[in-house]
Amino acid sequence: MKSPQLQRYSAGQRSNHWAVVTCFVLAGVSGFALFHPALFWLTNLLGGPQWTRILHPYIGIAMFLLFLGMFFMFVGANVWRKEDSAWLGSASKLISEGNAAKMPAVGKYNGGQKLVFWLFTLCLIVLLVTGLLFWQAWFAASVPIPLQRIAVLLHAIAAFVLVLGVIVHAYAAIWVKGTIGAMVRGTVSAAWARHHHPLWYRDQVAGKK
């Protein structure tokens, strides 16, 4: 029998998430193209090298603004609590043994998810600020060159960390069955919620009564 479903994300939250994903893929593809010569061919996906250079910053700004919407919707549920530290301490065991039942009980998000949330926030702030500093079409001419050199390096490092974070984020969603539906249809099964986010499940059930 199909387990009863719980609403995890609204249609607005899902749309916002996938709009950010779209920007991330486009900014990522164009950024990779300019980062390593082996990936320069990716410029073709955005209409050629010049168009890649033109579009990348605008896509980045769109990603930042859209992420801001998600930030304010989700920041409340991502405040760090002491059970998150305990969860994170046992995370390596979860990865090697795959037994979620042994993990400390967490709310809507576990320590790993919260870490990813704050990592994305930090990376996007660094990407925005450093990106503006060497945006040739608008600002670079009035920024001291030594500062621009630091900015390009930090921009690359922040992008690198962001990509690693996204790999963790996407793999976790693929690995933990029943998760992708939360961001596609908006719902998770009650069993999933009870198993992975027991404190959130408790609140949801209590709220319905």
């Binding site: 193209a33 300019l34 980062f35 390593h36 010569p37 082996a38 990936l39 320069f40 090298p49 010049q50 890649t52 250079r53 979860l94 990865i95 090697s96 795959g98 979620a100 039942a101 009980a105 060497f134 040739q136 079409a137 670079a140 001419a141 060159i145 030594p146 621009q148 050199r149 630091i150 390009v152 390096l153 690359a156 490092i157 690198f160 990509v163 690693l164 790999i167 963790v168 996407a170 793999y171 693929i174 690995w175 933990v176 069955k177 029943g178 099964s189 069993a191 999933w192 009870r194 198993h195 992975h196 027991p198």
Partner: protein, 293 residues
Amino acid sequence: MSSLQSLDVVARSATTTPPPQARTHVAEVAKLIDVSKCIGCKACQVACSEWNDLRDDVGSNLGVYDNPADLSPQSWTLMRFFEVEPEKDKLEWLIRKDGCMHCEDPGCLKACPSPGAIVKYSNGIVDFISEHCIGCGYCVKGCPFDIPRISEKDNKAYKCSLCSDRVSEGIEPACVKTCPTGAITFGTKEDMLEHAQQRTVELKERGYANAGVYNPAGVGGTHVMYVLKHADQPELTGLPRDPHISAAVGLWKGLAKPIGLAVMVGAAFAGWFHYLRKGPLETPEDATEGEQQ
């Protein structure tokens, strides 16, 4: 410039495979600018505009002789004027022709992300190939001498080409041909270094004890060199004492590229193999209430 000399390209931006290496007996060239012979007439600026078909906008007088005020996409060389006191109470009016130094290890080429937009020829000339330029401005960050300028009209980077088109035909750059005092000379780098040494000796005899050649080792030497009256104080005419490619650019365009790419690809593979070996994390069918309590 257009790349009509592909056989003579020894370094090419954003390219990880070796360039053609068949030609091995090309002499390296150099332009030598003898600051002590320069009278600041700006004929070199005019010759540069003439030969390269450049016409900068008429600017405004800033109260100094520098005209235009700075290098630009339309001004690839520029006389810079300096009133300095190398020694106390000894005023000197120094003039330096500024422009691309054509580094042996060019920072612009290292920073450029577009394959073939910047090349170095076997004779040492560093050239921007405009049709491959994407206008990102990375060359500006790479250059230790603040030379490339990005056009707001076409978003392309411009700088002195050392008249690579003239040199490929065996004639000297336009600025060299026009210089009325012989302050600018052109030839093989070997000959120019020898000539510079002679000039240094002459200047020392005339009382410039610190006269010397500016051919900075930090960028592997340059194909535009100066004879300076005060080589111990290159800053007097706005030259960096020890130019080199910035450490940030070196890291960004050096180790960060292969290591960054490898770690990202590795992370994706780590996920894939984790899934293969451990399988997905399923929610048990019989997850009973209370098991977490």
